[in-house]
């Protein structure tokens, strides 16, 4: 049972291998559902960016040093009101609060560390489970 903060009701689920074509196909499928619910281009841009960052983090950081054949579990649900996507890796997790602020002057020239802040900037809600190996992204349609 997933952490209530990152649970998605009536979600579709898929286990994703680290394969670019499959990642792209899944994101396209989620965005096609969103488009069919008349979410606009800025919503689609935001959701694509956030999902990309979450999946990249899961494979690159979540599974760092682990078997690269491990899958990442994705759940998603698209409604008239919102788009929800959860991304869960099989790693030990991390503490999002420990991430340095990449917008500070001393961090601007560092090449990494912007994924989570972009998710937070573009999504209405971003929640991690307690162990930090699952993130739920939620974009709520502006009223």
């Amino acid at each position: 049972m997933s952490d209530p903060r990152t649970h998605i009701e009536d979600a579709q689920g898929v286990d994703l291998v680290h394969d670019r074509a499959k990642v792209s196909a899944l994101i396209d499928k989620i965005l096609a559902q969103a488009e069919s619910k008349s979410f606009g281009t800025s919503a689609l841009f935001a959701v694509r960016l956030a999902i990309e960052e979450a999946i990249t983090n899961a494979f690159e950081h979540g599974h760092e040093g682990l078997d690269q054949s491990l899958t990442v579990h994705i759940e998603y649900a698209v409604s008239e009101k919102d788009i929800q996507v959860a991304v869960e890796d099989q790693g030990p997790g991390f503490s999002p609060a420990s991430l340095p602020d990449p917008t500070l002057q001393e961090n601007l020239s560092k090449p990494s560390g912007r994924g989570v802040m972009l998710m937070r900037a573009y999504m209405t809600e971003v929640d991690f489970n307690k162990s930090g190996n699952r993130v739920k992204l939620r974009y709520i349609r502006p009223s």
């Binding site: 670019r20 281009t41 841009f45 694509r48 960016l49 990309e52 601007l108 020239s109």
Partner: protein, 118 residues
């Protein structure tokens, strides 16, 4: 190179780099792009590079990271990097991350070209 992800040309001492792909998202693609641009930097004494994003619809934080690494390498050689033709939605990503303060960004390649000093 037949599998190049970039179009690279020279104009008046400035190397113009354009992307072939509309999405600069995945690690393998970004790695290949980084290596190609790094080769251009390595070949020049003081690299002057203009990167045009005119074909680009999406880029990820990994792509931003690659651009930062490229910028750092160019600065190490006292070179110059200018960016141009960035889609407004992507420009917003630069603003959110404050990377619009790190990079020299211009509306058009012509304006960027004119901004190179020396």
């Amino acid at each position: 190179m037949s599998d190049s992800r970039l179009k690279i040309s020279n104009n008046d001492g400035v190397t113009l780099v354009e992307f072939i792909d509309r999405n600069i998202l995945d690690e393998a693609n970004i790695q290949a792009i980084s290596e190609e641009i790094t080769a251009v930097i390595d070949q020049a004494d003081t690299p002057k590079i203009l990167i045009s994003f005119s074909n680009v619809d999406h880029l990820s934080s990994a792509a931003l990271g690659a651009l930062i690494t490229i910028n750092n390498k160019i600065r190490e050689k006292q070179g110059q990097l200018h960016l141009a033709n960035i889609d407004p939605q992507i420009y917003e990503v630069f603003v959110i991350t404050r990377l619009n303060k790190l990079f020299n960004i211009h509306d058009t390649a012509e304006e960027a070209h004119a901004a190179f000093a020396g």
